[in-house]
């Protein structure tokens, strides 16, 4: 199966400013890819290039098998784009705005009515369907934006900061919808600078700083690579741990370092040898209440990357 998105050396320059610097990106079909980075990192520019709305300075790209510059219309039929700065026609009602989008996508009136009623229901906007968008709150507009994207039943969703500026309930709702899209086999690229919100749902993430994709992979993978330096970190809860146990563990094949903080033993090793560690603890006569490989939070990874970045 070919990837939903593939770019080779994609570059966009605005004068001297390099907004996107030779990006090689690959997003598989049916996955949720988190496109993470601070504001101004070039995430929006990349998304605009994926849609054919901005012309790359150099490099190649393929989205759903199409070249966005050569066949923009075919592509735009299959891609739903939620812009960061979302705008609707203020004088029109929510429903009228959606009907316009439906018409532009060649969806018949009857079918559009059906989809709009159902989408507005799912997004909790049924009561506001016939209200002018000028009366909408930021959160309502964002949800209307999701309805606008989903209306054309796209194969690929490009969501630029879909959760920014809305309340936690609204965020949860939008994330649920995104996960639901994956369940339907759709591919989702979600750009965000809010790490906690998106890391829960992303299959893979890419970290994008100053126009460059500095890392890409699962959060687990990135954490290992960045924080642990390609090591495995195992945390074991042993309430009755003694220095003798630490020594025993250090002697195990593949263990690099053992540290103790309260009842928690943090064991760095070359590979995932949780089984061996657990067995050793138990056979040495200690109580093992819990053992797990360390989870990496995205912002730790993120912070680590920024430490490495010299301040401009």
């Amino acid at each position: 199966m070919q990837p939903a998105i593939q770019t080779w050396g994609l570059t966009k320059k605005y004068g001297d400013l390099v907004a996107v610097d030779s990006l090689d990106l690959e997003v598989e079909q049916g996955e949720i890819y988190g496109f993470l980075g601070p504001n101004g990192a070039g995430k929006t520019t990349t998304i605009l290039m994926l849609l054919g709305l901005t012309e790359p300075t150099s490099g190649r790209l393929r989205v759903l098998g199409y070249d966005p510059l050569r066949e923009p219309l075919k592509l735009k039929r299959l891609v739903g784009y939620l812009p960061e700065n979302l705008g609707f026609y203020d004088d029109m009602t929510a429903k009228q705005n959606l009907l316009y989008t439906a018409k532009l996508n060649g969806i018949s009136f009857v079918e559009a009515e059906r989809r709009i009623t159902s989408l507005l229901g799912v997004l909790g906007l049924s009561d506001a369907a016939d209200k002018k968008v000028s009366t909408f709150s930021k959160g309502m507009k964002q949800r209307l934006g999701m309805a606008d994207v989903l209306l054309k039943d796209p194969q690929l969703l490009l969501l630029d900061e879909p959760t920014t500026g809305i309340d936690p309930e609204g965020v949860r709702q939008i994330l649920d919808i995104i996960v639901d899209c994956r369940a339907k086999g759709k591919t989702v690229l979600i750009s965000s600078h809010l790490l906690y919100q998106v890391q829960k749902i992303c299959d893979r993430v890419g970290i994008f700083v100053k126009g460059r994709l500095i890392a890409s992979g699962t959060i687990q993978h990135l954490g290992r690579e960045v924080i642990a330096g390609d090591k495995f970190v195992v945390e074991a809860e042993v309430p009755d741990a003694t220095p003798a146990l630490e020594e025993t563990l250090k002697g195990l094949e593949g263990v690099i370092k053992v540290a103790k903080a309260g009842p928690t033993l943090t064991i760095e090793c070359k590979s995932d040898i949780r089984g061996v560690i657990a067995k050793t603890i138990v056979t040495s006569g200690y109580t093992l209440t819990q053992i797990r490989s360390q989870e990496y939070a995205l912002d730790e990874i993120y912070a680590k990357y920024f430490e490495g970045e010299p301040k401009a």
């Binding site: 784009y81 812009p83 979302l86 609707f88 026609y89």
Partner: protein, 301 residues
Amino acid sequence: MTGTLTIALKELSDYLGTKRFWFFFTIIYVAGLIAAYLGIQALVQARVERSFLLLFRATTGALPPFLFFITYFGPLLGIALGFDAINKERAKNTLVRLLSNPVHRDAVINGKFLSGVSIVTIVVFGIIGITSGLAIGVGLVPNLDELARLVVFAAVTILYIAGWLALSQLFSILFAQTSTSAIASFAIWGFFAFLWTPIASLIASNLIPDQNSLERITLELSLSRISPVTLYLEAVLVILTPTARFLNPVALSELLYVIPNPLPLLQSLNLIWPHIIALIALVLVCFLTSYIIFVKQEVRG
């Protein structure tokens, strides 16, 4: 094509819903009605020529005739319809969402232009219809030739106002601020409507000091025809004046053989073809420039 039509229909219902449009509509109609009233008076008083067309170009003197209203203030309708066509969508962040749908960029320009031209057509035919209706009401009835001339008059008027629409639409692409594009459009309108004729005269007088020479008059005429306002005014004057035979100065000796009969419509049209083609060319230039710039333009919010 469906994209163009969808956009045009949406824009049309937008226009009809704005106060701006109805404000203009009212002003133009009131001005038209006043002019029609004066025109009817002039027509009733006229002794030599009692053409129905006098209605549109004659007055008793209290106010300028109908034709002048359209010539000088018609452009404002075009500008009002076009000056914020693209940059308003840009400012409201609807442009990027619009273009993320399967529509070509030229469909956006075409759709907006088409809806503007529809409005202009409604207004122009409406105003000519009402004026004619009033005249017919008081017993003045046009003949077939006059009717045909009225239709041509309406068509050239629509073309003229559409030119201003295309220009202001181009400005709405060039300038990010709606106020800038409005001011730029008004500036061009003011320049050509009120300043260009005296400037043309000044240039001609300076280049050719002999005030009465044919060269000076010809130069001044040619220069003044750079202005679409002059082009339009000359063109419709010929259409509305069946006896008009010349647009350029002619020698008296030539006039000796002229029988002052009205010309058939086609002969009148022959006289002003270059004007009409120049007006069409102006629309096309604005349009092509719009395409070229808009297709390459960044759309991000």
